[in-house]
C-alpha cells in the first residue's frame, strides 16, 4: 500500500527516506529510465488526449514500486504537491527535500538535487547539465488555488470528442490545463527550466506534480462514481478504454486505461482520505424483473453486478427507449472485459448472450451517444430452454485434453473428481501463456489456488493436497487479449 502525503507535511525522516530512495534509483540508472520512458513517448499519445490521466497514473505507480523496493518500505508513497499551499516559500522546497529555485541563470544550487549532485539527461539518455528551475518566470506567475481545483472537480464528463486540447466540457482537459483555470500544465510551467520539456521527469517535483494531478482525478472519481473513462471506443488507438497505452510496459498491472481506473485496487491511499466507503454496486438477481435505471447526466455510466452460481448460457439485456451500450466484465474482476454490444436487443437496446462460468460479473451500461440522457431497464436471464453446456471432464492420471483460448478474454472450465485425499497436480502444456485457477470442492465459486508460470516455460501448474469431491479448473490466457492452444492434465502426486 502506498500512502501518499502532502509534501509539505512530511517529517524529517520521511523527507530523508524519499530523497534517499530517489537518489538510489538515480544511482541504479532506474530513475533515468523513467525520464526516457516519458521523453520518448509519443507526445500526443500521453498528453492532450484522454489517456493523459491513466498513462501518468500508471507511470508514477511504477516509480512508486521502485521507490518501495530500494527503500524497503512497502508503504512509501510519492508525496503530492498541494499547489494551493506549495508556493516558493513552502517547506517542500527546503534543502532537505527538493531544494529551491534556480539562481539568476536558472541553475538549482540548493538541496539534494543541486548542481554537482544531480545531472539531468536528454532524450538520448546523455548527461545534459544541472537541474534548472525559474519559479514563475516562464509565463505562469502563480500556482492553482484551492478554489480553482474545486472548480475543475465539478466538471463532467471525463472527456469528449474531439478528444484533444479543444475538448469541452472535459474534466481531463481542464485538469491537464488547456481550458479552464489550468492545473497540471501550470505546475510544469511555474517551475520552469527542466520541467518544461518532455524530459521533465528529470526534476523529481515532476512526480509530486503528477501525484497531485492523480489525486484530483481520484477525488473526482469518488465524487462522480457513475462518470466513467471516455472514450470506451471510437477514439484514436491508445486512447480507448481497452487499448494498450503508448510506452507502457506490461507489469503487475495492465497497460490499458481500464487497468488503472481504481486507485484503491492499486493500493493507493491519500492522507486526507475520509474513509468514505466505496459506493455499493447494485445487484441484479438472475431471472427477476429488470432493474429500472437512468443515465441522468451525459457521459455517465452505470455499473451493476450479478452472481453466476453454475456454468451455463445467460443473456444480459436492456429494455426501454434509450440507445444503450453494454459491456460485460468478469468473472470476479471489474477490469476484465468479456464482451460488449450496442444494438443486439430490441430496437436500440443492447444484449449479450454468453456461456458463463461461476463467479461475479459486472455490467457497465452507458448510452451510445455520450451527449444524451435517458432511462432504461437492465436484467439477466438464464437460458433455461437451451441445452445446458457440458463441462469437459478430466480424468486423474488420464490423457490430457487439448483445447484453445480462441478469443480475447475467453476462459475454459474443466471438471475433475477426487475420491481419495492426496496431492494432485493440475497443469497445462504447450506454447500458450496460460493462467490457471482451481475451484471447489463441489462448487465452481470458491477459488482455492491460482498460478501463472509454475509449469514448464509459461505454462501454469497447481500442486495441492485436496479432499474428495468435485473440483473445477479454469484456464485463461495470461494476457486478456491473448489466444492460443494448450493441453490440460490432472495427475496424482
Amino acid at each position: 500500500m502506498a500512502i501518499r502525503k502532502d509534501a509539505n507535511t512530511l517529517t524529517a525522516a520521511e523527507r530523508a527516506e524519499f530523497v534517499a530512495a530517489i537518489k538510489a534509483l538515480k544511482a541504479e540508472g532506474i530513475y533515468d529510465q523513467f525520464v526516457l520512458r516519458h521523453a520518448n513517448a509519443v507526445m500526443d499519445a500521453i498528453h492532450r488526449a484522454p489517456a493523459f490521466l491513466p498513462w501518468h497514473r500508471r507511470f508514477i505507480f511504477d516509480l512508486e514500486v521502485e521507490l518501495q523496493r530500494v527503500s524497503g518500505n512497502p508503504n512509501l508513497g510519492i508525496p503530492y504537491w498541494n499547489w494551493a499551499t506549495g508556493g516558493a516559500n513552502a517547506s517542500m522546497w527546503d534543502d532537505d527535500l527538493l531544494g529551491g529555485d534556480g539562481d539568476a541563470g536558472g541553475v538549482v544550487r540548493t538541496g539534494p538535487f543541486r548542481a554537482g549532485e544531480w545531472t539531468v539527461i536528454n532524450s538520448s539518455g546523455l548527461p545534459a547539465g544541472p537541474l534548472m528551475r525559474s519559479f514563475g518566470q516562464s509565463g505562469m506567475p502563480t500556482l492553482p488555488t484551492q478554489g480553482e481545483v474545486n472548480q475543475v472537480l465539478a466538471v463532467t464528463p471525463y472527456d469528449v470528442a474531439p478528444w484533444n486540447t479543444g475538448s469541452n466540457p472535459s474534466f481531463r482537459n481542464q485538469l491537464e490545463g488547456w481550458i479552464g483555470p489550468n492545473l497540471h500544465n501550470r505546475g510544469h510551467v511555474w517551475v520552469g527550466g527542466s520541467m518544461l520539456p518532455m524530459t521533465s521527469p528529470n526534476d523529481p517535483v515532476f512526480f509530486m506534480n503528477h501525484c497531485m494531478v492523480d489525486k484530483v482525478w481520484h477525488d473526482w472519481q469518488v465524487r462522480f462514481p457513475n462518470q466513467g473513462y471516455l472514450p470506451e471506443t471510437g477514439g484514436a488507438f491508445g486512447q480507448n478504454l481497452n487499448d494498450p497505452m503508448d510506452s507502457t510496459p506490461s507489469g503487475r498491472i495492465g497497460p490499458r486505461p481500464i487497468d488503472v481506473l481504481n486507485s484503491v485496487t492499486l493500493g493507493i491511499v491519500y492522507d486526507d482520505a475520509t474513509g468514505q466507503p466505496q459506493p455499493q454496486i447494485p445487484v441484479i438477481v438472475i431471472g427477476t424483473n429488470p432493474t429500472a435505471a437512468d443515465i441522468g447526466a451525459p457521459g455517465e455510466a452505470d455499473l451493476f453486478q450479478f452472481d453466476v452460481s453454475t456454468f451455463g448460457s445467460y443473456t444480459m439485456f436492456t429494455s426501454g427507449p434509450s440507445d444503450t451500450f453494454m459491456t460485460l466484465l468478469g468473472p470476479n474482476d471489474q477490469t476484465a472485459q468479456v464482451a460488449s454490444n450496442d444494438d443486439g436487443g430490441e430496437n436500440l437496446n443492447s444484449q449479450i448472450t454468453r456461456n458463463l462460468s461461476a463467479g461475479t460479473y459486472f455490467l457497465r451500461i452507458r448510452l451510445f451517444s455520450p451527449n444524451t440522457t435517458g432511462v432504461y431497464s437492465v436484467g439477466v436471464r438464464a437460458e433455461g430452454n437451451a441445452p445446458s453446456p457440458t463441462i469437459p471432464e478430466l480424468t486423474v492420471d488420464g490423457a490430457g485434453l487439448n483445447s484453445s483460448i480462441s478469443a480475447a478474454n475467453e476462459s475454459d472450465l474443466y471438471l475433475f473428481r477426487i475420491t481419495n485425499r492426496d496431492t494432485y497436480t493440475i497443469q497445462t502444456s504447450g506454447t500458450t501463456d496460460t493462467f490457471l485457477t482451481l475451484h471447489g470442492p463441489n462448487s465452481q465459486i470458491p477459488e482455492i489456488a491460482r498460478n501463472d508460470d509454475g509449469g514448464v516455460s509459461v505454462n501454469a501448474l497447481i500442486r495441492r493436497q485436496i479432499d474428495p469431491g468435485e473440483y473445477y479448473a479454469r484456464v485463461r490466457h495470461f494476457s486478456q487479449l491473448g489466444t492460443g492452444p494448450y493441453t490440460i492434465r490432472v495427475s496424482r502426486g
Binding site: 541563470g105 554537482g116 547539465g129 516562464s138 509565463g139 490545463g177 518532455m198
Partner: protein
C-alpha cells in the same frame, strides 16, 4: 512568404516560408492550431505559443537538446 534566421544562445534558428523551422539544421516538427492561433511542439508539451518564432526561441532556451548550461 517570409524567411527568418537568428542565432540565440549559440543556436541557429531558421524559418523558411513562414512554416519550415530548423534549429541548428535539425527540422522541428510542430502543430499550428489555426482556430486559436497557437503553435506547439513535442519538445515543450505543456505550453502553446503565439508564434512560430516565439516557440523556436523557447525550444532553444528550455530543452536539454539545445540548451547547454554549464554547472
Amino acid at each position: 512568404m517570409a524567411n527568418h534566421k537568428e542565432v540565440l544562445e549559440g543556436c541557429t534558428i531558421e524559418i523558411r516560408d513562414d512554416d519550415h523551422l530548423t534549429i541548428n539544421g535539425k527540422e522541428i516538427h510542430y502543430e499550428h492550431n489555426r482556430s486559436d492561433g497557437t503553435w506547439s511542439s513535442k519538445y515543450l508539451p505543456y505550453t502553446k505559443y503565439p508564434s512560430l518564432l516565439v516557440m523556436a526561441r523557447a525550444i532553444v532556451r528550455d530543452t536539454v537538446e539545445f540548451s547547454h548550461v554549464k554547472e
